[in-house]
Each structure stands twice: as C-alpha cells, then as structure tokens.
Amino acid sequence: MNWFAGIDLGSAYSKGVIVRDSEIVASHVIRSGSDYGAAAEVIRMELTERAGLSQDDVLHTIAAGSGADSVSFAGRTSSDIVCTARGVHSIFPQARTVVDVANLSTKAIRLDSEGTVTNFTVSEKCAAGGGRLIEVIANILRVDLVEFGRIAARSENPIEFGTGCAVFGESEAITRVSEGVPKEDIAAGVNRALARRISSLVKKVRMEEPCVICGGGALHMALIQALESELKVDLLVPPIPQITTAFGAAILARVAATEEKT
C-alpha cells in the first residue's frame, strides 16, 4: 500500500497527516514547544501508531512551516503556502480563496481550479494578525476559547481595538477591563479587530468565492462569524482546519512520489 505523510511545524503548533490516496488515515496536532526536531519525532510516532503502520510504510514525507528544516525524516520541504493551497483544493476543489489564520500571522491565498496558487499575501510583521491575539485575551478574561466565542456572541457594542500587536492587544484588554468594560464586548472587539485586519488582506488578493478559512484561527466560531460579516460571504471550513497545510504536504508527497515513478 502507498502511504504518504505531511508535517507542518508552525511557531506555536506542529501538525502531521498520513494519507492513502487522498484519504486522511491519521492526523495529529501538538504544541511545537522549544524543539522542532523533537516535536516532529513525536508527531511521526503518534501518526504511524494511529495509522497502525511502521515508519517504513510511509513512502515519502514532505515538511512545511517555520520548522520544516528540522524534520530529519522528510524527503524534502515545501512552501507552506503551496501546501495550504493543495490541501484546501483537495477538500474543496471549488475553493478560489483561502484565509489561513495561523498563530502569529495570517495568509490570504488565491487559487485556480487546479489548486495552483494564483496570488497570495502575508500579514505585516508588526500587525501580527493571528490567532495568538485571541488566546492571549481569553487568558486575560479567564475564559477558555469556547467560552470566549460564547460571550463574544452576546456582545451588543464591541470595543475598538487600536494596536495590531498581540502583546499590546493584551495591555489594551487589561485597561479596558479596568475601565469596567464587560468581558463580552472585549471578546467581540478582539474578534472584530482581527476580522478587519484579515479582511483587508483578503481584499488585497481580490477575493473570489467560494472562500475557505483554515488554520488554528478557524477553530474560533466567533472569529469566523466576524470575518463573514466583514467580507459579506459565507466561509467554508475544513473538518479539522488546523491540519490543512499538513494534509496538503502529504498530498504533495504522494504526487512527488508518483512523478518520480513515471
């Protein structure tokens, strides 16, 4: 049988996928921690175990993400943007725009009917528009991410968020708390601020529907809703959004292997 693996080592989370043909047979997500190499090994073991395979069963592995070079067992590395595009394409072949909301940065990608990247843009460094902001603020408000979304949905008048910096978003939230602003308005304000920053990225690549949101940020319903109202479209969400890039890497691995054969 032909199994292929994709590993996506991000700054905050590491994800892995094993596919057979285009079927996901195993996937796994862990915190990257401070050692990419170790994280990659953990994922590799967990994946093969879950798939009931030995490591040699996996014919080819492609690694992507900021830690890609630390994946010793990968055949080669590939750009996370290309992987994300391929991953989305195999899940939603009709997709033309992708928003990948990672922990620190956000990418907007355009693709054509073959899943080829036709345009993309990445968030500016100092306005790190990523899921981190939500994690940080949820922590301030002492609510988990589910609760965060729940209270945000209740807000009548979300606050305005000035800064794009995740760390200063935190100070801002704290000062708002001290001003006695209700939690839900802060939560909703964060989502809206993030959604706005993401939507201007998407506009830069000239969004075309259907539009998919993936990456860790796609786990936040409230963010998705905020983004949908900013962009005035319905967003498609993959079943396990944070592994989309790893999945794409695995698909690429399969393609690469078959190309080598022929």
Binding site: S11, S34, D35, G37, R154, V167, V177, E184
Partner: protein, 284 residues
Amino acid sequence: MYYAGVDIGSTMTKVVVIDGSDDLLSVIKGPTGPEHRQLANQAMAQALEQASLQIDDIAFIVATGYGRINVPFADLQMTELSCHARGVSILFPDARTAIDIGGQDAKCMKISSGRLVNFVMNDKCAAGTGRFLEVTAAALGINLEEMGDLSLRATERVEISSLCTVFAQQEVVALLSRGEKLENIVAGIHSALAGRISTLARRLAIEPRVVLTGGGAKNTGMVEAMKEKLGCAISVPEEPLITGAIGAAVLGKEICLKTADEHGTPPAKPRRLERATFFKEEYP
C-alpha cells in the same frame, strides 16, 4: 492612625497597610484578574485581617495602578508613577532614579526630595517591557523564575533582535534548534531587554542612586544586565513588587495629615467593603 495603598497592576495586585511611622502592618499580593472591583475588596479584606484592623480604622486609602479606578473604597486615585517614586524614596531616601519593569510597561522616574519630578514610559512596543521575558521564557519552555540563575551561568551572550516580542519567540526557538546553549540565549534576552530599558532611562539624565523595582527586579540576571547597560550600581528593594503600594499608602498619609493640619480634622469618609469572592461570574 493607619493608611492603606492599593496597587492594581496589570499582572499583580498589591495592598499594604502602614501605621503613622510608615511601618508595614500587612502586605497582600495576588494575581490581577478580570474583576477588579471584587479583587480590590477581597485583597483589602485580607490586608485588614492580617493587620487585625477594621476598615474604619484606616484613615486614608490611595489606589494606584492600571485598575486604580476600580477601587470603590479608595479616597483618592494617583498614578503608579507618583506612587512608585514615593515608595522608592521611602525605602531609599537618597534615591534619584527609579526604574520599574512591569508586566505591560517599563517606567523610568526622576525623584527629587522624595517626589516624582519627571518620567518616561514605554508602552509603545512590548519589546521593552517585562512581557518580553515572560513570552520568551514560555517559548523556551522554562519558568520566569529560572531565567535569572540560568543567565548567570551563560558562557557567552547570543544576539537577540529586540525588535518585537511576538517574533522574538520564534527567534529564540530557532536559536535553540540551531543548538545555541539555553543559558546563553537567556543571557541574550536579558541584555536585549536591558538595552531597551536603559535607553529609555537615558531620556532622563540618570543620577544615583538608581533603584530597580517591579517584577523585573526579582530577576537576578536582569539586574546584572541593567547594571552593565547603565554602567552604575543598582539597588533593589527587598520586595520590589510592593513599592507602588507603599508609596500610595505614604502619599495617603501625607495628604491626610496635611488636610488635618488645615481643617483640624482628617477627611473622614464612611466606607464599606463589598462582600467579594475572586472571579465571581459577573454576567449571569
């Protein structure tokens, strides 16, 4: 007569009660949560209990810090800058410069005859605040407390871009996976932050004695780095966290006595602590 200072900082909340001769009767410290009002009441109640006093025994209460507006029972609110300056000058009467490395900002204060006369603050970029340490520590998978001792074991110092806290996380992880020694990275982190803060401090002509307060002052590695960057000796209070609260209490005392002189009686204000529990869900 007794006086209290309540300092609701971005990460920690501190309350002190002092008597007429500035002796500490109680010191309460706890993490700042999202419900400041309850927190203030709760912490105050604990402080009173520790000093075995009633709320009405307290002649004057000054609130300071981020959450100062959420202390319902306070007689006066003052900025953390004035309170820090006053607190430092109480602990070190000859102090001329105070540097406070807090969780959300860094402040440098000039002190003259026990009062704040000038200040600079960094709250523009997190790279110059205590958060830089917390965030990078987390990225390295170590505790904030370990950092100081770790950095003292450094054989050399790794250059860390002090540009941005958010991206410094990635940088330090990359350094680790490149095989840099953990202690050398930590030393690099301290020196990067110390560089930022000493530059900020230089906006005020620095005069000895220089006193370092706030969470950053509890970090030996940070203190060493600051000494090096400033090129002068640095004093650190026994408990650097409560400087602001002490200053608040003392300023309260002084205001109280002043009005007492002017009007014969100190400003009496009936006050009551709301029954409080930590993190009570505010929104049913």
